[in-house]
């Protein structure tokens, strides 16, 4: 590759890359992000390239592998451009048929089409799927257009034009003002105004002039993976955002702190950095501007606490990843005691968009105080699992029903947990709540990094609180007492309640302890950790009371409080449950009523899942 020494050379290269691409040419796209790979997308990709070369189509049909496109539910997915015909759940066996019938023959294979769960109709084109058509994919949309291993793909969609605009047409303070007017707030959870952070870092004194920009890719929330998908699918957008930020702040050294558990993200980012360096889009004298900036990857060991800014920087220094008090902010004294600016992956990926399209365009999206779009990972009891990017201010109802396709199996929606393990559960009564930083906090939850776990009527809220507190107890660094011991005792109380040993005073004790942990902890992990408990008590107090007073789990989840019995009117004596039972606890002759031996029963629920007649009931 040739080093680019000016904007003119970049534009010349871009024009050449664009010429090589014919938008009307047939292109097969398959996504090989982590979610796709888990369902053998790799096998599909290999089958496609093999079939194309076997049929001698390699020169006439383009083939591109991309990162995650967002709709994880339908992976592995094959999309045929230019019409954007989408096939879901593709296996390597389907590939020859797709190529011979659909790519060559121009026919649509009905069997592989997506079926809209709300209407039951088959959808042919990707853009017509409600999951996509109701989103506003400013950041994520590029994932389908670029092969993360190809910087040329990124250049073809206008990549690195924001860097050249920033370096040659804008002063650093102009960039910060643009970001301020756009109203960009940190996407990692805190929602701190990005421009204020940048300006504080820029103006903080540094004796030797060293300042750092850091990308926080230590995404540890259970069920959240938008940062991973961005790094895997479009690493150049993050690199571009960081370069612009570094120029605005006056930094020459960047770090990406990414989890070691994200091997594909690390690999794709490494390739992207190498390619950017080869084109001189990173390193010394970027595009001949005289500005130097490079990025190093630092892999974290997977501690949740290392997503906290001071713990992350301690870990980057090679110390134990534990937070320190923030009376002196990291923008003044962070990594190695130098002014350091930390932003989340998604925040960085938003920066090139703002520079390219202007602050007015960006601030036109979203609400008064929360601008732009936010990516959520919509998981749990939801039909359309995946990454959704929506404008701020959209209601939970729109996300869950219009985009998410509602709750599977006709179950009733109960609550949604936003903001990861330390977020709160928002009940059905607040489903029309507009989603932005401030409204979620008012409801006792938070935006967090954007996890969104949907729960249906079969979810026990006490059990959910127990699950998240257990996660946080294990992930607390253990430095300060309220977080380490407080969460541990909170977990004890919750375990007692779910196992039928709850006491009347436990709810008040949980509330009292929750407030102490929130108020007295050293860092934001402890400061938000009681949210799942406090919010479930606030909205689902009756469930706690049912556990404690009546020894009853209303959702039928807490094993110590439920018994499985067989309804004599419904049981047909088919023996299916008896065969499934791992404990051989079910007895009964064929065609006669079966019974469960409660002493042997371990309440695994296999009998209930296997019964076709709904004869196994929980009480």
């Amino acid at each position: 590759m040739k080093r680019l020494r000016s904007v003119a050379e970049l534009e010349k290269l871009r024009a050449r890359v664009a010429r090589q691409r014919d938008p009307n040419r047939i292109c097969i796209v398959t996504s090989v992000g982590t979610c796709g790979l888990a369902r053998d997308a790799d096998g599909v990709a290999q089958a496609i390239s093999r079939t194309l070369s076997d049929l001698g189509l390699a020169d006439t049909v383009d083939f591109r592998t991309t990162g995650c496109q967002g709709f994880c539910e339908i992976e592995p997915v094959v999309v045929i451009y230019p019409q954007r015909i989408v096939y879901q759940h593709v296996t390597p066996v389907d590939v020859p048929k797709i190529i011979s019938e659909s790519v060559v023959g121009g026919k649509v294979i009905k069997k592989l089409l997506y079926v809209d769960p709300s209407t039951g109709e088959k959808v042919t084109r990707e853009q017509d799927i409600p999951f996509y058509s109701k989103q506003n994919r400013l950041v994520l949309d590029s994932n389908r257009l670029v092969d993360p291993h190809s910087i040329d793909d990124y250049l073809a969609i206008g990549g690195y034009s924001a860097v050249s605009k920033a370096l040659f047409d804008m002063e650093p303070m102009e960039i910060i003002d643009e970001i301020r007017q756009a109203g960009l707030r940190g996407r990692g959870g805190g929602g701190f105004p990005t421009a204020r952070k940048w300006e504080a870092c820029r103006s903080a004194p540094s004796l030797d002039g060293v300042r750092y920009v850091i990308c926080n890719a230590d995404e540890g929330d259970p069920g959240a993976y938008m940062d991973r998908s961005l790094l895997e699918g479009n690493p150049h957008s993050v690199i571009e955002g960081m370069t612009i930020g570094a120029y605005a702040i006056g930094s020459h050294d960047g770090y990406v702190y990414v989890r070691h558990e994200y091997p594909l993200a690390v690999a794709n980012l490494g390739i992207a950095l190498e390619q950017a360096r080869e084109y001189s889009l990173l390193g010394e004298n970027i595009l001949g501007s005289g500005f130097d900036f490079d990025i190093k990857i630092s892999r974290g060991g997977g501690a949740f606490i290392c997503g906290e800014s001071t713990a992350l920087m301690a870990s980057l220094e090679g110390k134990i990843g534990e937070p320190r008090p923030k009376h002196v902010h990291t923008v003044t004294s962070g990594l190695n005691g130098k002014p350091s600016n930390l932003n989340n992956v998604e925040t960085w990926a938003n920066v090139p968009l703002i520079i390219n399209n202007g602050a007015d365009w960006y601030s036109g999206i979203g609400t008064e105080a929360s601008k732009g779009t936010k990516i959520f990972s919509l998981v749990g009891k939801i039909n359309n699992t995946g990454l959704v990017e929506v404008p701020m201010g959209i209601t939970l109802r729109e996300i869950i029903y219009d985009i998410g396709g509602g709750i599977p199996d006709g179950k009733r929606f109960k609550a949604v947990q936003t903001g990861g393990p330390s977020g709160g559960c928002i009940p059905e009564s607040l489903i029309d709540l507009p989603v932005d930083f401030d409204r979620l906090t008012e409801a006792g939850s938070m935006m967090g990094s954007g996890g969104m776990i949907v729960m249906d009527e079969d979810t026990c809220m006490v059990d959910i609180a127990r699950y998240f507190v257990k996660f946080l107890t294990e992930e607390s660094c253990g430095k300060c007492v309220p977080c380490r011991e407080g969460l541990d005792r909170m977990l004890d109380i919750l375990v007692d309640i779910t196992e039928g040993r709850g006491r009347e005073e436990d709810i008040e004790l949980l509330e009292e302890l929750g407030v102490v942990i929130r108020e007295a902890s050293l860092c934001a992990l402890g400061g938000t950790a009681p949210n799942p408990v406090l919010s479930t008590i606030r909205y689902f107090r009756d469930e706690y009371e049912a556990h404690i007073r009546d020894g009853r789990c209303p959702a039928g989840v807490c094993k110590a409080l439920i018994t499985f019995t067989i309804d004599e009117d419904k049981c047909t004596g088919c023996r299916v449950c008896a065969r499934e039972c791992p404990q051989a606890a079910i007895s009964g002759e064929k065609k006669l009523l079966h019974t469960i031996d409660q002493d042997k029963c371990i309440k695994c629920g296999l009998c209930r899942d296997s019964c076709k007649f709904d004869a196994v009931t929980i009480s």
Binding site: T473, G478, K479, V481, A520
Partner: protein, 221 residues
């Protein structure tokens, strides 16, 4: 000099001092555990929390690491502070019930019941020993291992390192091993041996051992 208000009293403190130092200078008592004059502040035990009043609201901060600021308004013993401090103390006692230092502090705060499960960990992870070893003895032979409730003070790979000079400083500074409570039986998580007038088997004769008894003698909480 920085001007600030502590418990309604205007005071001045040199820049760079902490709220704890400024309050102690005024004679205000703030309990501490992980703080030591000769060591760098750590902010882990949280018993020294104070209420910082600001912009119509307030927050709790550990005073040992809170630098004084111009115009700061601090409450060291407000209701919010004492309520929170008592819960923290309960947590500490429940995780280390045999420490006389902790039992005495709990008694001082008028705690008459520990409502949490007793889990004797034998250590409150205040980090005094770790900092003493590193900062005063220039050794660094011990440190923290693990995270969350598995966190412990240990030597690397559980082997006594060359850096350890067997000075015994870590034991000396430890608020837990220094004076172990020998009462043996705990009532509601509290030893009561030194605090309660009620006869306790381990104390045939009351020697008034606690600092907290005061001029009014013992009292059953």
């Amino acid at each position: 000099m920085i001007e600030l208000t502590i418990d309604g009293i205007n005071t001045r403190a040199p820049e760079g001092t902490t709220v704890l130092e400024a309050a102690r200078e005024m004679g205000i008592v703030i309990p501490t555990l992980c703080y030591h004059e000769g060591l760098s502040p750590y902010g882990a035990c949280r018993v020294c929390i104070v209420e910082v009043v600001k912009d119509g609201g307030s927050s709790l901060e550990a005073s040992c690491i809170l630098p004084v600021e111009e115009g700061q308004v601090i409450l060291t013993n407000s209701e919010k502070v004492s309520k929170t401090r008592r819960v923290i103390m309960e947590l500490l006692v429940s995780s280390c019930p045999n420490s006389k230092t902790l039992q005495d502090m709990a008694a001082n705060m008028g705690i008459n019941k520990v409502r949490f499960k007793i889990k004797d960990r034998g250590c409150i992870l205040c980090g005094l020993c770790v900092r003493y070893c590193k900062e005063q003895m220039q050794s660094g032979g011990i440190g923290f291992v693990g995270r969350g409730t598995s966190r412990k003070v240990a030597t690397a790979f559980d082997i006594t390192p060359e850096e350890c000079r067997n000075c015994g400083g870590c034991e000396w500074i430890c608020p837990v091993c220094e004076r172990a409570c020998t009462a043996g039986s705990l009532v509601d998580g509290l030893c009561g041996g030194c605090q309660n007038l009620a006869p306790v088997e381990t104390c045939p004769v009351c020697v008034g051992c606690s600092e907290s008894v005061g001029p009014h003698g013992h009292r059953v909480y």
